[in-house]
């Protein structure tokens, strides 16, 4: 046997069982290849992951960037304006295919915007022998226009577009309609020529319009037109209610009427703005007159959409926004709200946008400016033509623009102006919104109405975020840090082994559960037991101290059985008992001290109380961040090198003195980083605030009122906003703000923690 094996071994030594050198080389190559493959594969995956995480930042930036871009105008084509006479007004229909020219001779021309080819011509004729003296238009959405004549009559018309889809191709058939009948309406019963005219149409209820004319003999005449359709014949009957306005000192430059038909605004040639209250049609009152700008004359005025704000342009190129504000005596006065970037020459034309508070301005030097009301932004100022701009038309969807120059050339351009509403100041400063008496911080992103002024102030949301986080930290910080110190330093290891994982598991508890408990259980509970809430807050520490004090007098036999480090367990019955007692006597306290309802008592004393308020959020979110803070702080305290604490104790310090003098100073960076991370979590928490507050974006720090946070706002609004809209991008901006903020907080915390770790290892 033995010889056999020996000989075998010998023979195998001679004839090596190793594979042949070629095979070995091949295997080595394969191994090397595998090694390289693994290296490259892992590196690629590593880079991929890092890149995809970086992509979050990049993508959010990419979505937010367009918001801060200005406008651009790209010239497309220029042609001689179609039609025989000088245009008084130009407009574009909503598919941006066709333009419309209201000529000075009453000829109305529809033409192709790309070529200038005439599509349809119509003529608005007045009474025999009457010549056109003046032109007026209502708000652009309605598209109602009027010509005034030498005989004091007025004729109204509206462009109408029928869109059909023969063969899946869009085909637009233009027409000119006369909604108030074909016969001219006698605005001035005395028959004097109308030399200035204002027109507005109401969009509410039955069709009605209002005319205000200024006659060549210096009178203001008004007419309210209402129509009634005969049910049987379909004929339209127009009724006219005439009136007059009080005389104004100077000749009018422009007359404007608001859509509610409550006010008439007259800009006069002396540079004044007048506000005439016409709520009582029989007794119009001149309420307020104001000089638009000292030493300057008004050259153009128009409403922004909604007919609340006036944009006033002057001969020196200055632009300002005005609207009615109630003054100290509760009178409505015209208030200059904000100024826009000035133009180099006199403003000649103002074209408001159809659906937003923006407007486009042309001046005498040929410069076109794109401005926006709410955000006070000037998105573009660009020299478009030589010489003065005679007219501007903007398409209803803000994508196309035509500019008319002095020589009757029409310049058609493409316009990019997607996000004018947002500027740094609109997001973070007080903004004076239409209809408000003061500049305010408001978040109100949408409403059912097209003329709604979007209010995108991030201040209420940021304040709400900080408020929620503040109250959460107020609740969580003392509990978590004190708990961490106790667990790490005083608690017996046995108890610690059970307590620490229990609290840490709470970190994984879905916040939706905390939120639902906060909203459905805690909020009503607190509302019904307000006295208990406050007495627990104040009484709990006192009761604990009392227990500690009484413990000294417990017989030593019993005391000896319980080792040090079990205080927390001894306190359990105390906490439970005290809690139960406070809740049970809560209704009695309400009856004795607060007339039966503490909540009512708050309201009576001028404190607003919402059921879902910051206190509820503070407790619920505090509960969510306690484990985060606790866990990190506990680690920091526990890892304080033992020789430090033992040294302190050996020198005669009490355990508490050691904690204050040695442990806390050493572990403070760790505790600091725990607080930072907890704060970061509180700032970004969504579900709890979504469910435990009323989500009303208010700006205050009242503990009994709710708030809306950045994150909850995203959750509420993002699913319902239009992709790519300004609102959509602002929500992305909110996400970016959250991301950056928490990222910075966490980075600081992480760096501090790593420093601490190094310090511990060097100690």
């Amino acid at each position: 046997m033995m010889t056999d094996s020996t000989s075998n071994a010998l023979s195998s030594r001679r004839q090596s069982r190793l594979p042949s050198p070629e095979l070995r080389a091949k295997r080595r190559r394969v191994r090397m290849f595998k090694n390289g493959l693994s290296r490259w594969g892992i590196t690629a995956a590593g880079f991929g992951v890092v890149f995809s995480l970086a992509l979050i930042f990049i993508y959010l930036f990419y979505e937010v960037m367009p918001v801060f871009k200005g406008a651009t105008i790209d010239h497309e084509v220029t042609f001689q304006v179609p039609g025989d006479a000088q245009p008084l007004h130009l407009s574009i229909e909503r598919y941006q295919e066709m333009g419309l020219n209201y000529g000075a001779d009453g000829q109305v021309t529809f033409f192709n915007l790309d070529s200038g080819e005439v599509r349809l011509q119509d003529q608005l004729v007045g009474n025999d022998g009457a010549d056109i003296t003046v032109f007026a238009r209502g708000e652009d959405i309605g598209g109602l226009v009027a010509y005034g004549y030498t005989d004091g009559s007025v004729k109204l018309a509206r462009a109408d577009y029928q869109v059909t889809f023969p063969d899946d191709q869009r085909y637009i058939t233009p027409s000119l309609t006369r909604p108030y009948g074909d016969t001219p309406i006698q605005l001035d019963p005395e028959g004097a020529a109308i030399i200035q005219l204002g027109l507005q149409e109401s969009t509410r209820g039955a069709r009605s319009a209002m005319l205000v004319g200024y006659t060549n003999d210096g009178r203001y005449v008004t007419a309210r037109l209402t129509t009634r359709e005969n049910l049987f014949t379909g004929a339209v009957e127009t009724q006219v209610a005439r009136g007059v306005l009080p005389a104004l000192p100077a000749q009018p430059q422009t007359i404007l009427i608001d859509k509610e038909m409550r006010s008439v605004f007259v800009a006069d040639v002396a540079g004044y703005l007048h506000y005439v209250d016409i709520r009582n049609p029989r007794e119009p009152v001149l309420q307020h007159s104001v000089r638009a700008a000292p030493g300057e004359y008004i050259t153009a005025v128009d409403f922004l959409v909604g007919t609340v704000s006036l944009i006033v342009g002057t001969d020196s190129g200055r632009l300002s926004q005005w609207f009615l504000v109630r003054d100290a005596e509760n009178n409505s006065i015209l208030q200059r709200i904000r100024d826009f970037k000035s133009h180099p020459a006199a403003i000649t034309h103002i074209a408001p946008e159809y659906l937003r508070k923006g407007f486009i301005v042309g001046d005498a030097s040929g410069t076109v400016g794109v401005h926006y009301g709410t955000s006070a932004r000037t998105l573009l100022q660009q020299q478009m033509v030589d010489g003065a701009i005679a007219g501007i038309a903007l398409s209803p969807v803000n994508r196309r623009l035509v500019v008319l120059d002095q020589d009757q050339n029409l310049h058609v351009s493409e316009l990019w102006n997607r996000h004018p509403q947002i500027s740094f100041s609109a997001l973070w400063n007080r903004v004076w919104y239409e209809g408000r008496s003061d500049p305010e911080y408001i978040w109100q992103s949408s409403s059912g109405n097209d003329e709604f002024e979007s209010k995108f102030s991030l201040v209420p949301l940021s304040i709400g975020t900080l408020k929620a986080a503040f109250f959460a930290m107020l609740f969580a910080m003392p509990l978590a840090i004190m708990g961490a110190i106790y667990t790490a330093y005083f608690m017996t290891p046995k108890l610690r082994g059970a307590v620490k994982p229990t609290i840490e598991i709470m970190e994984a508890l879905p916040t939706v559960i905390l939120g639902f408990l906060a909203g459905l259980w805690l909020a009503p509970f607190m509302e019904n037991n307000l006295p208990a809430v406050f007495s627990l807050l104040i009484g709990m520490p006192i009761v604990m101290l009392l227990m500690a004090f009484l413990w000294r007098y417990v017989p030593a036999v019993i005391r000896g059985r319980v080792a040090a480090g079990w205080e927390a367990a001894l306190l359990v019955p105390v906490v439970l008992g005290f809690g139960w007692a406070m809740v049970s006597i809560s209704p009695y306290i309400e009856v004795w001290f607060f007339d039966g309802s503490m909540r009512q008592w708050f309201t009576d004393n001028g404190i607003t109380y919402d059921q879902r308020n910051a206190m509820v959020v503070g407790v619920a979110m505090g509960f969510a961040v306690i484990p985060t803070i606790y866990s990190i702080a506990e680690d920091a305290v526990f890892n304080v090198p033992k020789h430090l604490t033992q040294g302190s104790l050996a020198l005669g310090a009490t355990p508490w003195q050691t904690v204050l003098g040695v442990v806390l100073p050493t572990a403070s960076p760790g505790i600091f980083s725990a607080i930072m991370i907890g704060f970061g979590r509180a700032v970004g928490e969504t579900m709890i605030v979504l469910m435990a507050t009323g989500n009303s974006p208010i700006v205050n720090f009242n503990i009994f009122e709710g708030m809306r946070t950045l994150s909850a706002n995203i959750a509420v609004e993002l699913p319902e906003t239009a992709v790519g809209s300004s609102h959509f991008r602002i929500l992305f901006l909110a996400a970016l703000v959250l991301l950056t903020f928490t990222f910075i907080l966490n980075t600081i915390a992480e760096v501090v923690r790593q420093r601490l770790r190094q310090r511990y290892s060097s100690l």
Binding site: M32, G41, V50, V499, E567, A568
Partner: protein, 556 residues
């Protein structure tokens, strides 16, 4: 005393108190959820109470389960316009679940202690669970078939006959459901597929004859399907007619009689006649039903099966995506990347992403995955279905992908920790024996680090299962018509919207039309979610601890 304060003992007690409060809150919260969630399924006794209204002097009676009671101050009660005597300070009120929403308008009423005259638990009360309008509480009168009374309640054969009739009705309902869900669903899918094929043909711009012939073929297919559908329609109508034949006459506590069609009934119980044992049996049956059936009545009744299924599917798909990438990234950072300031910075950044608010991931997921990637996928692969989006809308895949991104840092951190714990001697030993770096890695290091990876994965799953905020944006809905996995090709429908336990809690708790009725369901759902997550976390913790022990002994 002063001495005592100076020694610091009171402050030690105070810090101990902080721990106590935290623990009491944790345990209290879990018990609250457990008690409320579990008690919902218990078949509570039905009380019949005579109510005396002191304002009108009339008495009426109310019958139902007493859900809870609360003590409020008399002042609050008076402000609510309730009849409370002047001499009272505090009043107790009871919330009755009286059911019969179709008859009374509300199924929950409060009654004050002082107005309740006597409380009885009458025998023979039936609690009828219905497909709509919630529960019905009442006494049986008679069983009817085709409008004729077949047996009255005092007949000894009543119970048996009712049982037979109910079983028949339920069986037919199930048969009808199978047809609706399986067969009609299949036909609808096929018709939709034909429509898409047709649209696809149009987009391909085929020559006219070929287009015509293909269209004719599709039309023939569609006609065949329509014919099949007509047959099914008739079958269903027949079943529907059959189901409607039996009805039950019930008397309510106010004496009125109501006819309930048996086709609307799901189950009948008589809790006042049940023994404790049968109550237990019923209890567990109800829990099982809750876990395995679909929700009814805008999620306020029924079970949560689709939510459980959706959560699990989503988490599973997420794990498939997050595991390889997380592990590879961790290996790269730990083993291959040059350990310099740049790597340190990347590491800190990756760790920090774990602390970034989850809603931010949701925003990113919606913008980048759903609208950008999904929109492009639709344009390239699902052109025929446009303008209705396939992947360009929130769905299962995007939800999983978003959560994968969200949990990536968790997996990376945990895996790195696992890798870092492996003693360098092991690595060096392997290299010294001539193994290449990749061999050392895959044969020695990675197997040793598996528990760390497992921990990471479990923590990731636990986090993903409880996350709601981002899912609200990227693919979770309150009621999904279909499960994401079914018998239709391709079996796993990544584009479908899913239901999710966490979102279910939010939706049922806060957007439900009937808050009082749905509240117990929210607690029960929350309990399911809590149990799931606690189990996952405990597993992760125990793996981590075992791992620590192992290396502690290895390094000794």
């Amino acid at each position: 005393m002063k001495q005592w304060f100076r020694s610091g003992t009171p402050w030690i007690w105070l810090t101990g108190g902080a721990v106590t409060i935290s623990i009491v809150m944790v345990v209290g919260l879990l018990s609250l959820i457990a008690v409320r969630g579990l008690s919902h399924f218990w078949p509570g006794s039905v009380a019949e109470v005579t109510i005396f209204d002191p304002r009108t002097g009339e008495t009426s009676s109310v019958m139902g389960e007493i859900v809870r009671s609360e003590t409020i101050t008399a002042q609050m009660a008076r402000e609510g316009g309730n009849p409370v005597g002047e001499d009272q300070d505090l009043v107790t009120r009871y919330l009755f679940k009286q059911g019969n929403r179709d008859q009374f308008g509300t199924d929950f009423v409060w009654h004050f202690d002082s107005t309740m005259q006597d409380v009885r638990y009458p025998q023979g009360v039936m609690v009828i669970e219905r497909r709509e309008w919630g529960n019905f509480y009442g006494f049986p009168v008679a069983l009817m078939t085709d409008g004729l009374v077949t047996v009255t309640a005092d007949d000894p054969a009543f119970a048996a006959q009712l049982e037979v009739a109910l079983a028949r009705a339920i069986e037919r309902a199930n048969a009808q459901r199978v047809i609706e869900r399986r067969d009609v669903g299949r036909i609808n899918t096929a018709i939709e597929r034909i429509r898409l094929t047709e649209r696809g043909l149009e987009l391909q711009q085929l020559p006219d004859e070929e287009l015509a012939s293909q269209r004719a073929e599709l039309r023939a297919q569609r006609e065949a399907l329509d014919a099949e559908y007509d047959v099914l329609r008739m079958q269903m109508d027949e079943l529907q007619r059959e189901r409607r034949r039996d009805s039950l006459v019930m008397a309510m506590t106010d004496g009125r009689e109501v006819q309930l069609n048996l086709s609307t009934v799901i189950a009948i119980t008589q809790p006042n006649d049940m023994s404790l044992l049968s109550k237990f049996g019923h209890y567990f049956a109800k829990i099982w039903e809750f876990l395995t059936t679909e929700p009814r009545e805008a999620n306020t009744e029924g079970g949560i099966f689709p939510a459980i299924f959706g959560t699990i599917t989503m988490v599973f798909i997420m794990s498939i995506m997050v595991t390889p990438f997380g592990i590879l990234a961790a290996i790269y950072l730990r083993e291959y990347a040059k350990q310099g300031p740049l790597t340190r910075m990347i590491r800190i950044s990756v760790y920090n992403l774990a602390g970034v608010p989850s809603i931010v991931f949701g925003v990113f997921g919606l913008g980048f995955f759903v609208y950008y990637l999904g929109g492009n996928i639709d344009r390239i692969f699902y052109e025929a279905a446009l303008p209705s989006p396939t992947f360009g809308t929130p769905g299962l895949f995007w939800a999983s992908l978003t959560l994968a991104l969200l949990t990536l840092p968790v997996v990376i951190v945990s895996t790195e920790e696992g890798l870092a714990r492996i003693p360098s001697t092991v690595r060096q030993g392997s290299l010294a024996l001539g193994a290449t770096k990749s061999e050392t890695l895959w044969r020695v290091v990675v197997p040793l680090a598996t528990p760390g990876m497992m921990t990471g994965l479990i923590l990731a799953i636990a986090r993903a299962a409880g996350e709601v905020a981002p899912l609200m944006l990227v693919g979770v809905v309150k009621l999904a018509p279909n499960l994401p996995i079914d018998g239709e090709f391709p079996f796993v429908h990544l584009e479908r919207k899913i239901m999710h336990l966490g979102f279910h809690i939010f939706d049922v708790g806060f957007q439900s039309p009937n808050v009082e009725a749905s509240r117990p369901l929210v607690y029960a759902t929350a309990l399911v979610l809590v149990i799931l997550i606690v189990i996952l976390n405990l597993t992760a913790i125990s793996i981590r601890n075992r791992l620590r022990e192992k290396y502690r002994s290895d390094s000794d």
